[in-house]
Symmetry: C2
């Protein structure tokens, strides 16, 4: 496998990624195209799990490096209509489940799917062990900010956004540790700032679990904990990593996702009300479409599911080829950065601290 002479070529050290070819709103078409593009832009190896004929049909029409693509055939796949538990038990040969098994059996280093989130978390949990000492896995999502900290890129990380509903103190503290390792490594930020999503600055706010979590986070010396962060501050980017339970994280993430849409429509309402807004709002509608592209997950590719021994990336259901390419590269990079191993070390160090 020789590297392409291309300035944008990404060296991921030939990492192998198992890809659920059948998951996502635009599967398998955009998933396979994303994989094809990844083989042209990097030395990643991909195992496409899904319907072999369909995959080959799509590959026929696109450019890709055949040395870097394998196909693992299966006819079963989980849809968004499947409830996670039933879907997995009724479809033991589902593409996302097989992809997870390939990872567990060391046939792949990382895992990517744009399919049913709940089923993906369950498939991962069924096949891949949690890191020793980690109480709960968490889905972490990247979101755009106003870059209050002047980082190279104006993004922060929010976790958990839905792997769990409610969380214990220890789980929230572990999310902070896992988030720190992941975001620190992937973004190259030394001592990323960490905050707890809450309804006020004061330590006592938000009830018993949050106030105890606050207290513990302040005692962990190598965590750059900056305290509580409120809803209106999250998007300012005061913290690199925002910690919350899955119930709240999911609602906040989806509210932000739905907002560009809402603003466009509000624009139309205002348009009817005040003539003076006319010009601004006409221009606005196209401008908001561009903004939406930034808010849109497809620009960055994937949300890591942290806490497992393998690198697991959830691509957004709406992902098109470009987002899938990004998610594949992200999975390969995470593997090369040994993120699961580093999380293990940090968790063990702090478990010792807890036991003092």
């Amino acid at each position: 496998m020789k590297k392409k002479e291309n300035v944008d070529f990404i060296d991921v050290n030939n990492a192998i990624v198992a890809l659920d070819a059948m998951g996502g709103d635009h599967a398998p078409e955009e998933i396979v195209k994303g994989a094809a593009a990844a083989t042209l832009g990097s030395n990643v190896n991909i195992i496409l799990v899904g319907n072999e004929n369909k995959i080959k049909d799509i590959l026929k029409d696109v450019e890709y490096n055949p040395n870097q693509i394998d196909i693992y055939h299966t006819d079963q796949y989980i849809t968004n209509e499947d409830t996670p538990r039933r879907g997995i038990s009724r479809k033991p040969r589902a593409s996302m489940l097989i992809a997870a098994k390939l990872c567990a059996d060391e046939k792949a280093h990382g895992l990517v799917s744009a399919g049913n989130t709940g089923a993906y978390v369950l498939s991962s949990a069924k096949c891949i062990s949690r890191i020793d000492g980690v109480k709960k896995a968490a889905i972490a999502t990247v979101f755009p900010t106003q870059n209050a900290q002047n980082r190279k890129e104006p993004f922060s990380l929010l976790l958990d956004v839905g792997a769990n509903v409610h969380c214990s103190v220890e789980e929230l503290v572990q999310f902070a540790i896992m988030g720190k390792v992941y975001f620190g490594e992937i973004k190259g930020i030394k001592d990323p700032t960490i905050a707890l999503l809450n309804i006020g600055k004061e330590e006592y706010k938000g009830g018993d679990i949050l106030s105890r979590t606050y207290k513990i986070l302040t005692t962990i010396e190598d965590l750059n904990f900056i305290g509580n962060i409120e809803g209106h501050e999250v998007l300012k980017g005061y913290a690199d990593i925002v910690i919350t339970e899955g119930y709240v994280g999911n609602i906040v993430m989806k509210t932000v996702e739905g907002l560009a849409d809402a603003l466009t429509h509000l624009g139309r309402y205002a348009f009817k009300r005040r003539f003076i807004w006319k010009l601004g709002l006409i221009a606005l509608s196209s401008g908001l479409r561009q903004i939406k592209q930034i808010v849109d997950y497809s620009e960055y590719g994937g949300a890591p599911i942290l806490g497992f021994k393998k690198t697991i990336i959830k691509a957004h259901g709406r992902s098109k080829a470009k987002a899938i390419t990004n998610a594949i590269i992200l999975a390969a990079k995470s593997h090369n950065l040994h993120i699961p191993e580093k999380i293990k070390q940090e968790i063990q160090k702090h478990n010792l601290l807890f036991q003092k």
Copy 2:
């Protein structure tokens, strides 16, 4: 007191509103100006509670109807720096506390403050009884939507947004009932749609309290409960009333508040990245300012604190004169619509249902 010959004149039946003249970022200046304007546009009577000299100084320079304004002097007031509990116990003659007492003593029909939210809820709780059977008071806030239901105005109601952190099943059910009465009366919507903020459509989602609340809400015949609503759907306006615990409601409300700001800044980031976005984004920055006006609370005036025997309106801390005028009129209207009494009837009806 004679009515002005003005098409915009609002008849509130000479209702009396106690107004905390010293609370809010722009107090007392904008608060007093808002009161002055209210006396010109309606037959509301206002008791301004605060520093008499300062209030008189401001009134000197504005037009108002002196027959509709009384001043109740006090030198104490609670700031945003005061913690609610300490503020109230150390400042027994604080303006918001006196205003609440005037209401409790039947000297006023409604109460308005733009001051410290926590202290305002506590002041109200200290002076004014909760409606019989109501377990917890809730702060309800109006937010702009995409008007999916084609209402006359594209707004929905979210509660609780911070009076409580976590809530029991019965409290959440009562929030639905109180929200229905308030929004139905104020907006003139028959059978307003009610939804539970959650992380999925299914009844079992979101943990024990939410799934039990879901179940009970479906059994109450005269509540138009439409099920769970997810974060990205809230701003679409699928439901007139969105029910959640105070912790989540507060974070969602503040996230939405912070968003127009965040989008403006993101625009600048995109500006640097892609030349093609240039024109759209220049236009965008002014357009977003307009949108922000809609999102901004100052356009609608006030959030009701539901569950007390008197009408209590919380104006946003940032309120300027126009928002205060709106909040005063809102308090007077709520009183005339007998909202506390109607909440009492509905709560008692459903308490009987619960006990079956």
